[in-house]
């Protein structure tokens, strides 16, 4: 591990990489700070830009966007009570009341510093745990990979809190989208309708640009109004004192660790971590009454937890090839675009890229702290950018982004279809994340199931023969049962 780290450092500190990280963080915070635009959208939109880049540089750009976007989401949460990303919802609970009291600067600085600490703790978790897990995963065969893919698919249960059945329907639709094209083992066309464009299958990137970016544009058009919000964004108030910061340090560290643990579990994500940490901080605080009315401790807990998940979500992605949340699912698309398959072999064959990315995460966090500190007042103004300027720019970026993946106009047609789907489905209570998870994990499940059965000559006991397969089987059962048990407990 140490050898790999030392070998990637000279390349990582090259001018292009440092500029890319800076650019990624700036754009990430900007997009995160714009109401209605999410960190997922930032990563999806910029994904095609990484196509011509060196793998490490491209991944660093997306990581900068991801981390910057998550932090940027807290700016709108604090200033206008509109979380820029779902992960910043808990931040708004205390951030907005503080902003109304004229303490917006304090709230924004607390969000930044706790985000930084959360990100750093998450980085160390990734650095130390990911290689160990990858070593174990090297022993996996098709049976274990099939069980792993099924475990990944069970994530759909936890991301479908509102309606499990609708989440499963979304997931099944995603599985169907994934089977379009040539069969992975026999090479026969499936649901191609003799149209040559379908032979290559539905590409992941246009699908996710449509689902997460075009759908957001349509939603912005629906909610469009050309009057500006009236908030004071000048931030000419007193900043955060050292005393105030150190009063919350206990919560920051505890919440970061909560974020790490939750982030490492596929299908959880920053929003869940932020709320769990927020509740935990409220319980252990000396001033629990202040929570929800403008508590700096509340912001510290929520922000350190949601950034605590950022590095940890890369653990299942890099070691097992299973995305931890929607953004890492999009980043997985970037790996695929570069011809890389996330999983244990990535550590063996492309150690330079993996460790470049891991150490890059540290740099991204440092860049976020520096850029965030220097530009906190400028970013507060970003929320004033009217949506009628943003919509045309983002629409064109979606089109050119989808086209540039493989110079195909068919991919551009796909974004409008997926955009409409991504707009309509949530209106009827269907979550979008299961579609994406199924598009990614469906082919992995199918091909490994079929390979495993060829090896076992048709015997299904292969899926319960190895300790790893049994371990994943137990995880699948737990992952299916726990959300149901939790729901029952909440009801009681």
């Amino acid at each position: 591990m140490l050898e790999n780290i030392i070998s990637v450092i000279p390349n990582l500190f090259g001018l292009i990489n440092l500029l890319t990280i800076t650019f990624g963080v700036i754009i990430g915070i900007t997009i995160g700070a714009l109401p209605g635009l999410t960190a997922t959208m930032a990563v999806a939109l910029m994904l095609p830009f990484t196509f011509g880049m060196n793998s490490t540089t491209g991944l660093l750009l997306l990581t900068g966007l991801y981390f910057g976007g998550i932090y940027g989401g807290s700016i709108t949460a604090i200033l206008i009570n509109t979380p820029g990303t779902p992960a910043a919802t808990a931040t708004a609970l205390d951030g907005y009341p503080l902003a109304k009291e004229g303490k917006a600067l304090k709230a924004l600085q607390m969000a930044l510093y706790s985000s930084f600490i959360g990100g750093i703790i998450s980085f160390f978790a990734l650095l130390f745990f990911a290689p160990q897990l990858a070593k174990l995963a090297l022993r996996f065969g098709p049976a274990e990979y099939f069980m792993l893919a099924i475990f990944g698919l069970t994530v759909i249960v936890s991301v479908s809190q509102a309606s499990l059945i609708k989440g499963l329907i979304s997931g099944s639709m995603g599985l169907f989208v994934a089977i379009i094209g040539l069969d992975p083992l026999e090479g026969v066309p499936r649901f191609c309708f003799e149209n040559i464009n379908f032979y290559g299958g539905i590409q992941l990137i246009p699908a996710l640009i449509g689902l997460f970016a075009v759908s957001q544009i349509i939603l912005s058009i629906e909610q469009f109004s050309n009057h500006k919000a009236e908030i004071d964004t000048s931030l000419k108030t007193e900043g955060l004192s050292l005393n105030e910061f150190f009063n919350s340090i206990k919560h920051i560290i505890k919440s970061s660790l909560i974020g790490v643990v939750i982030g490492a579990i596929p299908g959880t994500g920053g929003a869940i971590a932020a709320f769990i940490a927020y509740n935990q901080a409220k319980r252990s605080s000396k001033n629990p009454d202040q929570f929800g009315k403008g508590s700096l401790e509340g912001i510290a807990a929520a922000e350190s937890a949601n950034n605590g998940t950022t590095g940890a979500t890369f653990i299942p992605l890099l070691t097992l090839g299973v995305p931890g949340d929607i953004i890492t699912a999009v980043i997985l698309g970037a790996f695929m675009m570069q011809g890389l398959t996330p999983g244990p072999m990535l550590f063996v064959n492309h150690g330079d890229i993996v460790y470049g990315l891991i150490i890059g995460i540290l740099l991204v966090n440092i860049a976020m702290l520096i850029i965030g500190s220097l530009t906190i007042k400028i970013y507060a103004k970003v929320i004033d950018i009217p949506s009628n300027i943003l919509i045309p720019i983002i629409s064109v970026l979606c089109v050119i982004g989808a086209f540039s993946i493989r110079n195909s106009i068919f991919d551009v047609y796909c974004i409008i279809i997926f955009g409409i789907i991504g707009y309509i489905l949530p209106k009827f209570g269907f979550p979008l994340a299961p579609i994406l998870i199924a598009i990614i994990l469906g082919p992995m499940a199918e091909s490994n199931l079929r390979r495993a059965l060829i090896i076992s000559k048709g015997s299904y006991t292969i899926f319960l023969e190895s300790p790893f397969a049994i371990f994943f089987f137990i995880l699948i059962i737990l992952s299916l049962l726990l959300p149901v048990i939790n729901k029952r407990r909440e009801k009681n």
């Binding site: 069969d183 083992l185 499936r190 050309n226 919509i391 629409s395 540039s404 106009i409 199931l449």
Partner: protein, 157 residues
């Protein structure tokens, strides 16, 4: 339509999508003899069974479950004006996308941005001009110059 009726319609649509996939499998997937234990048809068929089953479960659940959940009553609904605005936008977006190959990316992008900004009530002409030129230049520099993407030129550019 109340939420129960909506869910029943969704359940029916889900069931029929599943059924459609099931019926299309023999026509859309031609088997190669004796290659794998699980054939290219089996996974799509399983998906169709799952969809039909989920449709039935959702339908039964919707019939027996009265409107008791508070969350259920909060179905987000776009009003008529919003819907018209969305349809107008989607029409412009579709014309843009489908026209790129014929007219050319940069020409149509310029027209699209100008029309969309007028549609979104930007009244300052210098703003429309600056944004359009800025976006075109940015895209040309990044995608054509740096990334060497061959954007469709069509009849014009």
């Amino acid at each position: 339509l109340n939420i129960t009726k909506k869910n029943i319609i969704i359940a029916l649509i889900t069931f029929f999508i599943g059924l459609l996939i099931f019926l299309l499998v023999p026509y859309q997937i031609h088997l190669v003899r004796g290659t794998t234990i699980i054939t290219a048809r089996d996974f799509p068929k399983t998906i169709s069974y799952i969809l039909m089953l989920l449709g039935i479960i959702l339908g039964i659940k919707s019939i027996f479950e009265k409107e008791k959940s508070k969350n259920n009553s909060k179905v987000e609904k776009a009003c008529k004006d919003d819907l018209i605005r969305i349809i107008k936008f989607l029409s412009m977006f579709a014309m843009y996308i489908f026209g790129i190959k014929i007219i050319g990316f940069f020409t149509l992008t310029t027209i699209f941005i100008v029309f969309l900004m007028i549609f979104l009530k930007i009244k300052k002409w210098y703003m429309i001009f600056l944004i359009t030129i800025g976006v075109d230049l940015f895209l040309y520099l990044i995608f054509v110059n740096v990334m060497k993407v061959n954007l469709p030129t069509g009849l014009i550019l």
